[in-house]
């Protein structure tokens, strides 16, 4: 069985209609229950829930503290390469964009990660574009180089085969993040017209391959702002529910990439407001008490400061989204613009101010 078997039973327009027809009564019912199902989730992400946002926030705050405590996990992305064969219309790394391309050598990788290590991090997120240059051998080598320095190594790269994931896990890989971008299958090709990424089904099946490979944790998400965020988020919730049952030994996390300015980007057809993003974060938490919710430096200071209490469990800080950005050069192009430029120690101070303890280390290599 793979997720597609379930996914194909749903029609985008029907789901969308169902969400928008939810009423305040549906939302109140969802909030009063102990266990919420997907219909409840629809209510929580519907427009009808907006007036009840404060109640949702209080509940989300309570659940998150019970499950995770008053702690926030710290992680840092490191971009190893911006070479890419895909032509995603919203991305700075788009193959068609005429930009400075760079892929880090072994020496450069070590320089970057040592800098990140000096900030205090023990959880690193390796990011690359999709290219033959940053293929499975390159990635295996990178994980091997990084392993002695970081207990938790996650990657956010192109979808790989099950066997390739198994090889990476053997080298010490902890988690894989992969966003479907949008579950609107009909429109998917508009945003991803060329390259391997244009294969919707292969991408959709990735989390199943990951589950079968036995990865510790997988990350889900959609690119908010591409299509109707509510409908897309429903499918994330559906996907999560399926995966948790199918691959019960795996941990799950959800990220919230929100469309941001980048070189050559398309106009935002479905912008997501701060309020709506806050609503979504709370909705996920109320629906699922155990899923990790992660926020990046794509979001601005004010939003990040205040979202800590609303269900978020992990955060990055002082991030650079261009290869070599920490220690080598700032000339290569960023994947997206950073909105929060505060350093890791500034963010750690902020976290403490909000009444939380920043957690830098949360894994031990011996468990791999």
């Amino acid at each position: 069985m793979i997720f597609k078997d379930i996914f194909d039973k749903y029609i985008w327009e029907d789901v969308k209609k169902s969400i928008y027809s939810k009423t305040v009564k549906d939302v109140e019912e969802a909030l009063s229950k102990n266990y919420r199902d997907l219909e409840d989730f629809k209510a929580l992400i519907s427009p009808a829930a907006l007036p009840l946002l404060e109640s949702m926030a209080k509940l989300s705050n309570k659940y998150t503290q019970e499950r995770f405590g008053k702690v926030i996990s710290m992680y840092e992305p490191v971009y190893l390469s911006n070479y890419c064969n895909n032509s995603c219309v919203y991305c700075g790394f788009n193959h068609k964009n005429n930009i400075d391309r760079k892929i880090l050598s072994d020496e450069e990788i070590l320089k970057e990660i040592k800098t990140i290590k000096s900030f205090g991090y023990d959880h690193i997120l390796v990011v690359t574009g999709e290219s033959n240059k940053s293929n499975i051998e390159y990635l295996k080598n990178a994980v091997k180089l990084i392993r002695p320095y970081f207990s938790q190594i996650s990657i956010e790269v192109q979808p790989l085969d099950q066997q390739e994931y198994e090889q990476l896990i053997n080298e010490g890989l902890y988690a894989v993040l992969l966003y479907q971008e949008t579950f609107n299958k009909n429109n998917y090709k508009i945003y991803h017209p060329a390259g391997k990424k244009s294969d919707f089904n292969y991408r959709l099946e990735t989390h199943d391959r990951l589950g079968k490979a036995g990865v510790n944790k997988m990350g889900l998400g959609v690119l908010l702002g591409l299509e109707d965020w509510r409908t897309d988020s429903f499918f994330v919730a559906l996907h999560l529910q399926y995966l948790e049952k199918q691959y019960w030994k795996t941990k799950y996390s959800i990220s919230f990439p929100r469309l941001r300015p980048a070189k050559g980007i398309i106009n935002l057809a479905n912008p997501v407001s701060d309020r709506e993003l806050a609503q979504l974060i709370c909705a996920y938490r109320i629906f699922n008490k155990e899923v990790e919710l992660s926020i990046s430096t794509r979001e601005n200071q004010n939003f990040r400061d205040n979202i800590l209490k609303l269900g978020i469990t992990s955060i990055s800080a002082g991030s650079k989204t261009n290869p070599g950005g920490y220690s080598i050069s700032d000339k290569s192009l960023e994947q997206f613009e950073i909105s929060d430029n505060r350093s890791p120690s500034e963010i750690a101070d902020l976290i403490k101010l909000q009444g939380y303890e920043p957690v830098w280390k949360d894994w031990e290599k011996v468990f791999n």
């Binding site: 019970e66 405590g69 702690v71 303890e357 280390k361 894994w363 031990e364 011996v366 468990f367």
Partner: protein
């Protein structure tokens, strides 16, 4: 109140604690002090074993406080045994709380891996305290392989639901020859008091203290509840002895016949 002996240690306090989820290490330190606890568990995955100045460990240096590493994060017996050996070397203690939960959603302990790991760790000279579901047979099997105590759960970790498994906890307490420490799910001092009244030898509390709005006060409340429950249990014992020699008001009318 009687002291509690586990392995090679004697405890005056029957309130064990966890170190996770606190909003700051300083607050954790103050709360543990208020609780009077003499045993705190620490997740190995949280500690920088190479760092002699680890923040968490620094804030656990309290007089009379024993630190017990746990293997939270391990999904198999093999991983747990490796972790225990790592912890023994780095933290210089052969006490280990065995936590093997391959299910990261509900953190339910794996009974099979836990039994395998317990047997091996006991052979390697560890003082093993395994965290398990409230399964009476499993607890006897663990006792047979030589663990120092069993730690059956009250309800899922962090759920604060109390002693949902009380029916089985009672059986475990009745049948056990080794200390029984009820761990996980205790959400309020009244749960803790009830656990002690039932005859548990100790309880382990983490979430209920760490995420309360006043952890120091809550720690104190738990301290009092555990003492109250234990005193009640011990005095009930005394009363039972007396009852055996008390008069029999219901059947005294028969004495003349004899």
């Amino acid at each position: 109140m009687q002291n509690l002996k586990i392995g090679d240690k004697i405890f005056k306090s029957r309130l064990f604690t966890g170190s996770g989820k606190f909003s700051s290490y300083e607050l954790m330190n103050e709360s543990l002090l208020a609780s009077g606890t003499e045993l705190v568990t620490v997740a190995l995955k949280r500690i920088n074993l190479n760092d002699t100045d680890d923040e968490m460990l620094k804030h656990l240096q309290l007089p009379g406080l024993n630190i017990m590493p746990n293997t939270s994060g391990a999904r198999t017996a093999k991983e747990a045994v490796f972790a225990a050996q790592l912890a023994r070397e780095a933290m210089e203690t052969n006490w280990i709380k065995l936590e093997i939960h391959p299910d990261p959603k509900y953190l339910m302990p794996d009974p099979i891996e836990t039994l395998i790991a317990s047997e091996e760790l006991v052979k390697l000279g560890f003082i093993v305290l395994p965290y398990v579901h409230a399964d009476p047979v499993l607890c006897k099997r663990l006792e047979d392989v030589g663990v120092a105590a069993v730690m059956p759960l009250g309800s899922p970790i962090g759920s604060n639901k109390g002693l949902k498994s009380h029916t089985f906890l009672e059986i475990i307490i009745e049948q056990s020859n080794i200390p029984v420490v009820i761990d996980a799910g205790i959400g309020s001092p009244s749960h803790a008091a009830r656990a002690m009244e039932m005859g548990a030898d100790a309880v382990l509390i983490n979430t209920a203290i760490a995420v309360s709005s006043n952890p120091v006060q809550m720690a104190l409340a738990f301290k009092m509840a555990v003492e109250a429950g234990r005193i009640a249990f011990e005095s009930k014992l005394a009363k039972t002895e007396n009852y055996a020699v008390a008069s029999s008001p219901l059947t005294s009318f028969l004495e003349d016949e004899i």
